[in-house]
């Protein structure tokens, strides 16, 4: 039973604050989640939440350009930010005696970002982000898989239909007015969770948080997520795409709509991902790689996303000489066996999840990110201690029922990559 300690507070301006003491090393992780992600982007501005994240590192009223990175690195710390479907997070991990530095920097860009924004900075970061897209997606074998899978699993009116990185045209269209409007809409204390984890005295830390963040005014109520967020539990009919690329080996992705992260029905899917493809005793490794030798690698992943529906994505790369169709047929046959999964497969999966989770919790930055996540998504930081109970409670029968209702033809999106001739 995990017992990660924490205290939670809410400032008058709405900022949620989680403080978690972990004194074994004199370091502190600062982690700030904003409740905005690519799901909140409007039509014609895909990729904007992420481009905006880049602008957050370009200085603010009291922080010169590049000083954010320079000050943290000089202090002996690491930092970054990331944007995903449901959120944008910003984090610094640094020696604990520099806590004020991290709070000052985060408060300044939460309260005083706009005076530092210029067209030149936007144009520069637009180029950086376009190069990030080329690097991750356009110049990378299979690099556009998530973009394609999201578009197949979610209808055009759903906020997960488009990718986080966005399109080149939409990145080109982003303006300084967009930056200002986005900031005023989403970047406010009432739409954020701040977690501090590490060698802190919670009373002192709370006083410092109040000191730096207390006078930032709340923003207006956050608008609802755009588009249609309700979805039928399954796709209704299978969809498929075949893509030719400059690759040496075919790869097959199959995705299924599943319950959103946090719902009771989500956990059998999370366990199923481990049953299928985590470890060398997993079902797909055993069958596709070791016995049949049709696959080079296998992966399965349940997305921890919350709007309307999540997805389970499974993929395998073909061995040389094996066609995408042959691999897909073999993958199908194995996926069908999930309906009769053995208890021992589920036990193995649960034990692996538990061990992996425990290992990740050794890091204060990981603890801080999870505390922010559970607070932002479910208003329940205690989930950092109880989430594993939900995994442990998954029975073989629950996995079988999940497979019968969701791992079905009418709920399947298939994406094949084949080598260009």
């Amino acid at each position: 039973m995990l017992r990660i300690p924490f205290e939670r507070f809410r400032l008058d301006n709405g900022l949620r604050v989680i403080l978690s003491r972990e004194p074994s090393a004199p370091v502190v992780a600062t982690n700030l989640w904003y409740g905005v992600g690519s799901r909140d982007e409007r039509a014609g501005r895909t990729g904007f939440a992420h481009l905006f994240e880049h602008m957050m590192f370009q200085g603010s009223e009291h922080v010169p350009e590049t000083a954010h990175f320079a000050l943290i690195e000089k202090a002996g710390g690491t930092l970054n930010g990331s944007t995903w479907l449901d959120r944008t997070n910003y984090f610094e991990t640094l020696p604990a005696h520099y806590l004020d530095l991290a709070l000052w920097l985060e408060a300044d860009r939460m309260g005083w970002l706009l005076p530092a924004m210029t067209q030149a900075k936007l144009d520069n970061q637009r180029d950086v982000v376009k190069n990030e897209r080329r690097w991750r997606v356009d110049n990378q074998p299979y690099g556009d898989w998530d973009e394609r899978i999201q578009a197949m699993v979610y209808p055009p009116e759903h906020p997960y239909h488009h990718s986080v990185i966005g399109s080149m045209e939409d990145l080109d269209a982003a303006s300084l007015e967009d930056v200002e409007q986005f900031f005023r809409t989403y970047y406010a204390p009432n739409n954020a969770v701040l977690t501090l984890c590490g060698d802190i005295d919670p009373a002192h830390a709370l006083a410092r948080v109040r000191h730096w963040f207390g006078e930032i005014p709340p923003g207006p109520p956050v608008p609802p997520i755009p588009g249609v967020t309700e979805l039928p539990p399954i796709l209704g009919a299978p969809v498929r795409q075949v893509v030719e690329q400059d690759i040496s080996l075919p790869r097959v992705y199959v995705a299924f709509r599943i319950a959103p992260f946090g719902a009771a029905d989500y956990y059998p899917a999370a366990v199923a991902a481990y049953v299928l493809a985590w470890g060398k005793a997993s079902l797909l490794y055993r069958r596709l790689i070791r016995d049949l030798r049709v696959a080079q690698d296998v992966t399965a992943y349940a997305f921890p996303i919350v709007v309307g529906a999540s997805m389970l994505v499974v993929w395998a790369t073909a061995r040389p000489g094996v066609t995408a169709d042959a691999l897909e047929a073999a993958l199908d046959r194995e996926l069908a066996t999930l309906r009769n999964v053995d208890a021992v497969d589920v036990e193995r999966a649960v034990n692996l999840i538990e061990a992996r989770q425990l290992s990740e919790l050794q890091r204060v930055d990981e603890r801080a990110d999870l505390l922010s996540m559970f607070t932002m998504l479910f208003d329940d930081p205690e989930r950092i201690n109880t989430e594993l109970d939900r995994i442990r409670a998954v029975t073989p029968r629950a996995v079988r029922e999940f497979a019968e209702s969701r791992i079905v033809e009418e709920n399947r999106a298939t994406l094949q990559y084949v080598p260009r001739k």
Partner: protein, 454 residues
């Protein structure tokens, strides 16, 4: 409470010293070194076995054998099949991993402290009595061949492989990929794996590293129980000299038609880990390209927007590994990006760095060490480096002081000595038709255009 003074960064509080984990070691009668370090607040133990069986020991013509051998360890023992091994580990929630780098091979597991005994017993069985079933070794060899094929289509992997090939003379092991070449791996047989294992997996050149909720007494008892009767033997020696392939700076374009980005690598033969300039080099490289606010990243990314990120590194091995600058840049700015990167290298060579820049780099490196030792896996890996390179057990404790001694003069000196701008291998994986002309126009050296061999 007073209103916050926001116009200046707040001053730090009093520094709290980091108590680095203490390493303790014992040597068993068969020569096995047992190292323990107590660390962390969670009931976890990482166990790692480090053996002197890296890819530098691959026999002539058998490149990729060390990698294949490490990967094949878990494919069966005298008592269990590959599948039984996987089941036995994973039902305990344990993932067994083994890999070879150039200098060593290592196998490791992380396990809840209360299951360390059964897990370590199984671990010992796997690493001490592998039988290398023919069909499993053949499968792994074919996977390795397929991976070699895939690396030719993946621009980052291709760039690393080609950089190594152009930096080092062909007879140097570092000139080819660690996983081998299509030709060398095609020829690997089960008996090669067994012979390599017998020659190199020996207790007298191995270390058992136990990190986490464990002390040296328990570590020694466990080591003795599961590895004490592992018979020693005379280890083979591996000797080679590292020689560069480039006489004067040359640009090697590897054609990838239609590429929307160019993967750039600017490389040279670097220095070995035990070199006395190690700490000055770390500081110098941090200034050049080892941090976000390094000169290369601020220029290529923040000033010019050519790339998502630019960095540099000296890759330290027992023998001199490569020095590499790397960035993926938009195709149309390829030559300009190379030019800016070369400018930064030349500037650091000519002018060195200021006291302020040197201090920032020292403080960055000293500060992030604790952040890189948060998990038992991270700590076990760093202890592995201490063993591989024969560093003192007080290495972590001395780290800050070693950095603090580095002066701006040292930075300038090692920049002049180790950044040899006249004999660089500049490798560009990109669309040759678009990038070759502008690269030639730079006038930094001859431009050779290569194709990717199928």
């Amino acid at each position: 409470m007073s209103a916050p003074a926001r116009s200046q960064p707040p001053s730090p509080g009093p520094i709290r010293p980091f108590a680095f984990p203490r390493l303790e070691r014992r040597r068993l009668e068969n020569g096995l070194t047992v190292i323990a370090a107590r660390a962390g607040d969670l009931p976890l133990v990482t166990a790692a076995l480090l053996v002197d069986a890296g890819a530098a020991s691959d026999p002539a013509g058998k490149a990729g054998l060390a990698h294949l051998t490490a990967r094949a360890l878990e494919t069966g023992t005298r008592a269990r099949s590959a599948e039984e091994v996987a089941w036995a580990f994973e039902r305990l929630g344990v993932e067994f991993e083994a890999a070879a780098n150039w200098d060593a091979a290592s196998a490791h597991i992380t396990v809840p402290a209360e299951r360390i005994e059964p897990a370590l017993e199984l671990f010992a069985e796997v690493v001490r009595s592998p039988v290398f079933p023919d069909h499993e070794v053949a499968r792994l060899r074919d996977e390795q061949l397929a991976e070699i094929m895939q690396r030719r289509k993946e621009p980052r992997a291709l760039a690393s492989d080609m950089a190594a090939r152009f930096i080092f003379a062909p007879e140097v092991p570092y000139a080819r990929p660690l996983i081998g070449t299509a030709t060398s791996v095609t020829g690997l047989q089960r008996d090669d794996v067994e012979a390599f294992y017998r020659a190199h997996y020996l207790p007298n050149t191995a270390s058992l590293i136990l990190v986490g909720a464990i002390d040296i007494e328990r570590a020694e008892r466990l080591g003795r129980r599961f590895f004490g009767d592992w018979p020693p033997a005379t280890p083979p020696t591996t000797e080679f000299e590292v020689v560069g392939a480039v006489r004067s700076t040359t640009i090697f374009v590897v054609d990838r038609p239609g590429s929307v980005q160019s993967e750039i690598r600017i490389g040279d033969v670097g220095v070995q880990r035990q070199h006395p300039d190690y700490f000055p080099l770390l500081v110098m490289n941090t200034i050049l390209g080892g941090a976000f606010t390094s000169r290369l990243n601020l220029s290529l990314r923040e000033r010019h927007g050519f790339t998502y990120g630019a960095r540099s590194a000296f890759i330290f091995r027992r023998q001199p590994g490569p020095f590499l600058v790397q960035a993926a840049v938009a195709t149309d700015v390829t030559a300009r990006a190379v030019e800016e990167a070369l400018k930064e290298i030349a500037l650091l060579r000519e002018k060195g760095a200021s006291e302020e820049e040197t201090a920032a780099a020292r403080d960055y490196l000293a500060g992030i060490l604790p952040l890189e030792l948060q998990t038992t896996e991270q700590l076990a890996a760093r202890i592995g480096d201490i063993v591989t390179f024969g560093l003192p057990d007080s290495y972590f404790q001395d780290y800050g002081a070693s950095l603090a001694r580095v002066t701006p003069d040292d930075v300038h000196r090692v920049a002049r000595t180790h950044l040899r701008s006249g004999r660089l291998a500049i490798v560009v994986i990109g669309d040759a038709e678009q990038v070759t002309g502008p690269l030639r126009a730079l006038g930094v050296g001859p431009v050779e255009v290569h194709r990717v061999e199928e």
